[in-house]
Point group: C2
Chain length 197, copies 2
């Protein structure tokens, strides 16, 4: 018999994070009926990571990568989404997200709180191969989603191909396979004239 | 340099499965503004699996469980969602989903097509500990989501506590920890009078 309080806290956290489904990003779904939310972005990222894993030169632990991916944006439940090109929002992003992490993860029993906090910090620090892959996939899914949705977010927010190349540099350079995938997508973006400049 | 056709096929599949975000389930989000979709359900299931894993008596491989979870409902992109209590829809569910699996997974290079098909079949067969855990979590997330959303789907579809106990029997009996979690949720459902009968 497990301590009821322990299970109640886990369940409470699992209920709180239902709100992840209501954190909308600037990106659109392919058919552009609405913005994509964090839960959808996260699931899609996990699928990118899973299906591109065998193409990499770098050896990564996919289990650990998936854990980092599944939890990497949870802090946005309290801190909101801060798009990569939002210069003002990015000024205090770190501070806002740190506060959010403490508030959110404290709802879990201590061992799980520490575990999930460590995963989030590892993703943010972007040093281990798994964190670097997870972060590259974060950028890649986002970039691909914009291509799939005819660049609507880029058009609305004045994002040029050049700006996106800067934002995606580390992701593009993470591994030759990702470089190639990004180039395929850039080619499609150019062919479909998704950038005005 | 990876074969461009191979990467193009993977990308095409990753674009196709964007539609997963538009397959709506009968369950509602906690605040009941709308139904939950398959991508959200899948991400949430992965979080349930991750956070309850250490409470289990059964030893499971979490990496493999996550792979089964991430891909278990993809066939619904072509076959649609069939709620557990939809007797008519469940008559030809297996046949519809098998056709959908062939159509959908064939978009991938052969090795990945076979891999993802095997994961899906393993989940469906529900024999390995990972498939049994993934399936139990599928039922648990769905049940919890109904509790979180004040039983609105149950009310709309005439699902009684008794009916839900039948549907969730295998999930409840998978492991003592899950039995306990389900009982906590049933207690809450009764306290909040979510079932009329």
């Amino acid at each position: 018999m497990i301590d009821t309080l322990r299970l109640t806290r886990i369940l409470h956290f699992l209920e709180t994070i239902d709100r992840f489904k209501l954190i909308y990003r600037v990106n659109y779904l392919s058919e552009q009926s609405r913005h994509e939310n964090d839960a959808e972005h996260t699931w899609h990222m996990a699928m990118f990571a899973l299906l591109l894993q065998n193409e990499l030169d770098v050896v990564i632990d996919i289990e650990h990568t998936l854990k980092l991916i599944l939890t990497h944006d949870l802090v946005e439940i309290y801190a909101g989404d801060t798009p990569a090109f939002d210069a003002v929002g990015n000024l205090d992003k770190e501070e806002r997200e740190e506060r959010a992490a403490h508030l959110l993860f404290a709802q879990l029993p201590e061992d799980l709180r520490d575990q999930i906090y460590d995963w989030w910090k590892e993703f943010e620090a972007c040093k281990t191969p798994e964190a670097r892959y997870a972060r590259a996939v974060d950028k890649l899914q986002s970039f691909a989603q914009n291509i799939f949705s005819q660049g609507r977010n880029w058009c609305e927010n004045g994002i040029t191909a050049e700006k996106s190349r800067v934002i995606n540099r580390a992701a593009r350079e993470f591994d030759p396979a990702l470089t190639q995938v990004f180039e395929l997508l850039y080619k499609r973006g150019i062919d479909e004239q998704l950038w005005s400049e």
